[in-house]
């Protein structure tokens, strides 16, 4: 089969690989028809995530057709069209039993601090991902769902990470009616978070980024007010002025480890890998939220320490909430919102790239070329 393969920082290629095998009785092998590149894949691509091995295949957002199932699989048969949450999880450990699927303890030997994620380094379990023609999906009776007949396959792919993560980010903000919500980052997750904040009753939603074309999308897609932080000497002061010096009730960090806007932080973290992430957006969030407010973090950070302004968080009495999203827990409600027309996920898809050209896709997404927001990967066998 054809598969994207990591060759070192900023370098990937498409190679011929063996089709994955059933390694556990509850495994399924899925033939991928549509996949995606996620903003967090760029952390791997840039070499920032510890234990990202040459030869691994990335990709944690995909949908496809069941090709083969293990002996204990009861819910799926070959030929089923399925969508697969980015979490690899068992459904039965201490954490899964309480709904914390992203924190599963049974799927990741390499670390106890993080669950399993497809194609997301050995730190997240050493699974190959879905930027390939086929992928091994463990716990086939737990993670995947059949794609409902009415659902568009591109919407299904966006439901494997970007949309539920954004919606979850808004949930973590514990929004109450009338709240002013600021979202840092106008990528797919930030745009979905902004949109979801309204569903939860926000009174005002503000999106901050430095890419004008994405801010334009924040206005049209997410009905948000927008500020380009590059236009302000100090975005925190500007946000204070915008909120009559109170600060926002809720701030969502949908940027994560490669936040820009502070040269030193960005360069030490992303160029020289001396921090687990550049916490520029997180520090702005801590500074621009009101005292007693909530900061929700859904941008991805690595396991190495980051220079976070913890004293301000303490002195302001903030609630800091964060997690990787337990995707499948969000699905029933999100399916309703899509059916009702409140959420239209595939409006964020800007590029559909054949698997063979995925190296160009990564470069464009990394360098933010051609007004890219969400690139999908189309498999040759699709």
């Amino acid at each position: 089969m054809r598969a994207m393969v990591y060759r070192g920082p900023y370098k990937i290629r498409v190679e011929e690989k063996d089709i994955p095998k059933i390694e556990h009785p509850n495994d399924a092998i899925i033939r991928v028809t549509t996949g995606a590149i996620c903003g967090s894949d760029l952390h791997l691509y840039h070499g920032m995530m510890p234990d990202t091995r040459v030869g691994t295949t990335f990709g944690h957002e995909f949908a496809g057709v069941v090709h083969q199932v293990g002996s204990s699989v009861q819910n799926l048969i070959p030929g089923d069209r399925v969508m697969v949450p980015f979490n690899v999880y068992c459904g039965s450990c201490w954490f899964c039993a309480r709904g914390l699927y992203s924190n599963c303890h049974n799927v990741n030997p390499n670390a106890t601090a993080v669950g399993g994620i497809y194609g997301y380094s050995h730190t997240c379990g050493g699974y190959d991902g879905g930027q390939a023609e086929f992928v091994r999906v463990p716990f086939a009776d737990v993670g995947p769902s059949r794609i409902p007949d009415w659902m568009d396959e591109e919407d299904a792919v966006l439901l494997t990470d970007a949309l539920p993560t954004g919606y979850f980010g808004a949930q973590l903000g514990d929004i109450v009616e009338g709240d002013t919500v600021v979202v840092f980052g106008a990528g797919p997750v930030g745009l979905f978070a902004a949109k979801s904040a309204w569903l939860m009753g926000a009174g005002r939603v503000i999106v901050v980024d430095h890419l004008d074309y994405r801010l334009e999308k924040a206005r049209s897609f997410a009905h948000a007010e927008t500020f380009n932080f590059a236009e302000y000497d100090d975005i925190v002061v500007h946000l204070k002025k915008q909120t009559d010096y109170l600060g926002a009730d809720v701030v969502i960090d949908a940027v994560g480890a490669e936040a820009d806007g502070n040269f030193l932080q960005h360069v030490t973290a992303t160029k020289f890998k001396l921090q687990g992430g550049s916490p520029v957006a997180l520090n702005w969030a801590i500074d621009s939220v009101r005292k007693g407010g909530t900061v929700s973090v859904v941008g991805a950070y690595g396991p190495i320490f980051s220079a976070v302004k913890f004293g301000d968080a303490l002195n302001k009495g903030l609630t800091l909430r964060m997690n990787q999203c337990p995707v499948k827990r969000q699905w029933p409600r999100l399916f309703e919102h899509i059916r009702n027309g409140y959420l239209k996920p595939n409006e964020l898809v800007t590029h559909r790239i054949p698997l063979e050209h995925i190296a160009e896709g990564y470069h464009m997404f990394s360098a933010k070329l051609d007004n890219i927001i969400k690139p999908l990967i189309i498999s040759a066998t699709a």
Binding site: R7, G8, P9, Y10, K11, I12, R13, E23, H24, P25, G47, P50, R53, G55, T57, V88, C90, S92, C96, A97, R98, G99, L100, N106, V107, P109, N110, A111, G125, G126, Y127, D141, Q171, T180, W198, L199, G201, G203, H210, F229, A230, T243, D244, F263, H266, V267, K271, P303, I304, R329, Q330, P332, R333, N340, A359, H363, M364, K368, L369, D370
Partner: protein
């Protein structure tokens, strides 16, 4: 005198937009106003049907020794089998896993260091294959032309002030290795 700003007294100076105005402007406004309609509320919810039909899953066979965090009590029943440990990078990784917990900076810094070693080992090894690493195709740099690289960087983008480093970071090691190879060849010739 102007009014004091909001936080200097108890109420907000500007009231939020009315429910009706928000509903008219934003499809679905407020449908999840009640926290009970939000799927991850409360955060921990025992008893959700997950599809698991086991108390503890079957164990995936350990075909070759699998490295694991020393914070685990045992090898978890299911794990990824991509890219098993090999070479010098594998030795560093094995040591990082065996010696240091996830709480130790040394654990992660060794793993990040091993990643750099892995890339070098793999680049060198690829030179002995029919498909050596190709820094041009593998960086996807061609999309600078197809993707309007020049035009895309117009406007107020803050990454432009450091993206000049990228070519040096990506290509720098190749250039250094090339210069090194030239130096070695010269030295060998000179010693003859």
């Amino acid at each position: 005198m102007t009014e004091p700003a909001t936080p200097y007294r108890a109420r907000k100076n500007t009231p939020p937009e009315s429910r009706d105005a928000l509903r008219a402007r934003i499809p679905g406004w407020g449908v999840d106003l009640d926290p009970k309609d939000r799927p991850s509320f409360p955060r921990e919810q025992p008893g959700i049907e997950t599809g698991a039909h086991w108390d503890f899953p079957d164990r995936q066979p350990e075909a070759q020794p699998r490295e694991r965090s020393i914070e685990h009590a045992m090898l978890p029943p299911v794990f990824g089998t991509s890219a098993p440990l090999k070479g010098a990078s594998g030795a560093i990784r094995r040591y990082a896993y065996r010696r240091y917990s996830e709480g130790r900076a040394a654990h992660w810094l060794l793993l990040i260091g091993a990643d750099r070693v892995d890339a070098w080992e793999s680049h060198l090894k690829s030179l002995a294959t029919l498909r050596p690493d190709n820094p041009v195709t593998e960086t996807g740099i061609g999309s600078e032309f197809s993707g309007n690289g020049f035009k895309s960087r117009a406007g107020k983008r803050v990454d432009v002030n450091h993206s000049w480093m990228d070519p040096a970071i990506v290509a720098g090691p190749w250039v250094l290795a090339g210069l090194g190879a030239v130096a070695v060849v010269r030295a060998l010739r000179g010693s003859r």
